[in-house]
């Protein structure tokens, strides 16, 4: 059965989604359990797959029994197997942590939400593991379509910003499809490994030898940048994530941009090969410039925000700049930093968004509501401190190591503007998070007009000393958060292993 693990990681999500859809009419009360069971089964299968791949090496799974390039193949190499485990783990944590919120945010429709959630996760996991360029497009659409729907429920602007996301997202996916059309017309194949061989034959001296291949790379990049929200194409990203209900934001925010950055890395490593992908100086310079601009723009916009989730959205934008910039520095350290940062940033964003949804539920999302946070919600606040420190780049946390690789890559490549932007963004992050810590630690608790105690007329008149655990969330919400926060440290301590087993295993050996 171990040979079937790649498909067993995804099948439970599909069947789980169909089961909860039918379960709306048949076993409504058990739906949450069915959905969590599907996520847990998928997580188990992907962890087993990751262990198998890391010990035994890359496995290629032929869907339908047809060998590539005739059929579609799933490629489980160390990078995709680990990413698969991270994606399903993140989804499981989000789902377990936001049970109460799903039930209050989507009354009467929570079975539909479970189905959409499971299919969104299935789409993201499929994107990670597929080895076929067109299958990737279909899976991007599966992931995106469910994202549009679950982000649409929320505050008044949620619908409009979700529709905007739909237009931009479909445009990005269509551009990717067009780029694949360019590759298909030149090579006649859709399988990534096959494509890479044919591209090397067609353009032995790099992409500058062939206008159509260079254009294909440009169009695919444009599509991916639109989908991941790099600086000039970022306008769709902050809206849906900050206006939607918390569970949807906590799912989409960590996954979408990171998985798209993963696709970018996959395109560089597996389809074009790094030498060819970096062979166009014009594209490299332009992309580095955009990445630098994205980092600066995200950081400075984050400074201007007054609410926690909006601030996180803009930090997300600057993190996209980190990953894209590192991939185009043109050296091994930069690409290592990008790959490592995809994993690290997934954990950091997940930790911060989960903490933010706890804070929003307990006190309200604006900074002015967050006084006394450390007294009122100590565990959540501790997790937030860990996420924040990792985002700033303090050594034992994983955020430090990715920044270290990116910085050394930038200095090797002589791209000092990018290096400067990285350092500046760390400083800005420090300002941002220490401002929150200050409010939370020294600020006076606002009146207790929190959602949990809106009828507190009496509390106004008799301010009592607050008990220690007064507003902390139940353990079911804290446990996933603590696991994620602990994994930030674990990931930081295991950096050497991750880079040796995962990153070095997928990068071509001759890469400078």
């Amino acid at each position: 059965m171990t040979a079937q693990l790649p498909i067993l990681a995804i099948a439970p999500l599909l069947f789980g989604a169909f089961a909860v859809t039918a379960g709306r009419f048949l076993f409504r009360r058990a739906n949450y359990a069915v959905a969590s069971l599907a996520l847990a089964a998928s997580f188990t299968a992907s962890v087993l797959l990751a262990i198998q791949i890391l010990t035994q090496g890359t496995a290629i799974y032929f869907v339908g029994g047809w060998p590539p390039p005739i059929g579609i193949s799933y490629v489980a190499d160390p990078l995709s197997a680990l990413m698969l485990a991270f994606v399903s783990g993140a989804a499981l944590c989000t789902f377990l942590a936001s049970k109460a919120e799903i039930e209050t945010s989507y009354p009467l429709k929570n079975s539909a939400f479970y189905a959409l959630f499971l299919l969104a996760v299935a789409g993201h996991m499929g994107i990670v593991i597929t080895g076929d360029a067109f299958n990737l497009y279909v899976l991007i659409e599966v992931a995106a379509l469910s994202g549009y729907a679950i982000l649409a429920q929320g505050r008044e602007r949620a619908m409009l910003s979700s529709l905007n996301y739909l237009f931009v997202g479909s445009l990005g996916a269509s551009l990717y499809l067009l780029g694949m059309g360019y590759l298909y017309i030149m090579t006649g194949s859709l399988n990534m490994a096959d494509l890479s061989g044919i591209i090397a034959q067609l353009a032995p001296g790099g992409l500058s030898g062939s206008t159509a291949l260079a254009a294909a790379w440009g169009v695919i990049l444009a599509g991916l940048f639109v989908k991941m929200g790099l600086f000039p194409f970022h306008s769709w990203l902050p809206g849906p994530i900050s206006f939607s209900a918390a569970p949807a934001a906590a799912l989409v925010a960590p996954l979408t941009t990171k998985v798209m950055a993963y696709v970018l890395v996959r395109m560089i490593i597996s389809v074009f090969t790094p030498d060819a992908a970096w062979s166009l100086p014009a594209i490299n310079t332009l992309v580095l410039l955009l990445a630098t601009a994205a980092i600066l723009y995200g950081s400075f916009c984050a400074l201007a925000q007054r609410s926690l989730r909006k601030m996180l959205c803009f930090i997300l934008l600057s993190e996209v700049g980190y990953m894209v910039g590192g991939a185009f520095l043109g050296n091994r350290a930069g690409l290592t930093g990008t790959i490592y940062h995809i994993f690290a940033d997934l954990l950091m964003t997940l930790c911060l968004f989960l903490a933010a949804s706890n804070v929003e539920r307990g006190t309200g999302g604006r900074f002015s509501d967050m006084g006394g946070l450390f007294r009122r919600m100590p565990v959540t606040a501790a997790a937030m401190v860990m996420g924040g420190l990792s985002m700033i780049g303090v050594p034992p946390f994983c955020g430090f190591f990715s920044k270290w690789y990116l910085l050394s890559g930038a200095i090797t490549a002589g791209s000092y503007a990018f290096a400067g932007a990285l350092v500046l963004s760390s400083l800005v992050n420090a300002v941002l998070f220490f401002r929150i810590f200050e409010i939370g630690f020294f600020g006076t608790p606002a009146d207790r007009a929190s959602p949990s105690a809106t009828s507190g007329e009496a509390a106004h008149r008799h301010p009592e000393p607050l008990p220690f655990f007064c507003d902390e969330m139940p353990a079911a919400r804290l446990a996933p958060l603590c696991v994620v926060a602990a994994s930030l440290v674990a990931m930081g301590l295991l950096t050497g292993e991750v880079v040796r087993l995962v990153v070095s295993a997928v990068l071509p050996p001759g890469l400078g």
Binding site: Y137, V138, E141, A152, M159, L166, F167, Y184
Partner: protein, 127 residues
């Protein structure tokens, strides 16, 4: 100059696909009406499908179903089935996207009373 004309004659269909694509893109950028944007998205996606389907065309080839009189010895006798399959998928994806977009548009109209994007933004700012 004659080479240029010959080149144009060989490639004119690609140029017209890009022209259709750009008409759709223009509608998505410049139009403020949300339904017009949907139509623009549809035009953009259809133009890409047209590009793919044209890849599969072969001069003098028949439809991709076995003709017993011809047999399958020569693949050049049949149009390339692969781009057609891919575009079947893309058509279905595009109608799915359209359905979701229309559902969102109806809800926006219910909440704001209009489907002009600039008017909605003005109202939201006014609040």
């Amino acid at each position: 100059m004659p080479e240029l004309f010959a080149e144009f004659g060989n490639k004119f269909h690609y140029y017209s696909y890009f022209a259709i694509m750009m008409i759709g893109l223009y509608a998505m950028i410049a139009k403020t009406n949300l339904l017009k944007k949907c139509i623009g998205l549809g035009i953009f996606q259809t133009a890409i499908m047209l590009f793919y389907v044209s890849i599969g065309a072969k001069t003098g080839a028949g439809i991709p179903i076995i003709d017993p009189a011809v047999g399958t010895a020569d693949p050049a006798a049949y149009a390339n089935p692969l781009p057609q399959v891919l575009m079947l998928t893309a058509i279905v994806v595009s109608v799915a996207t359209l359905g979701v977009a229309l559902a969102l548009i109806q809800n926006i109209h219910r909440d704001h009373g209009t489907i002009e994007e600039d008017e909605i933004l003005q109202r939201l700012r006014g609040k």
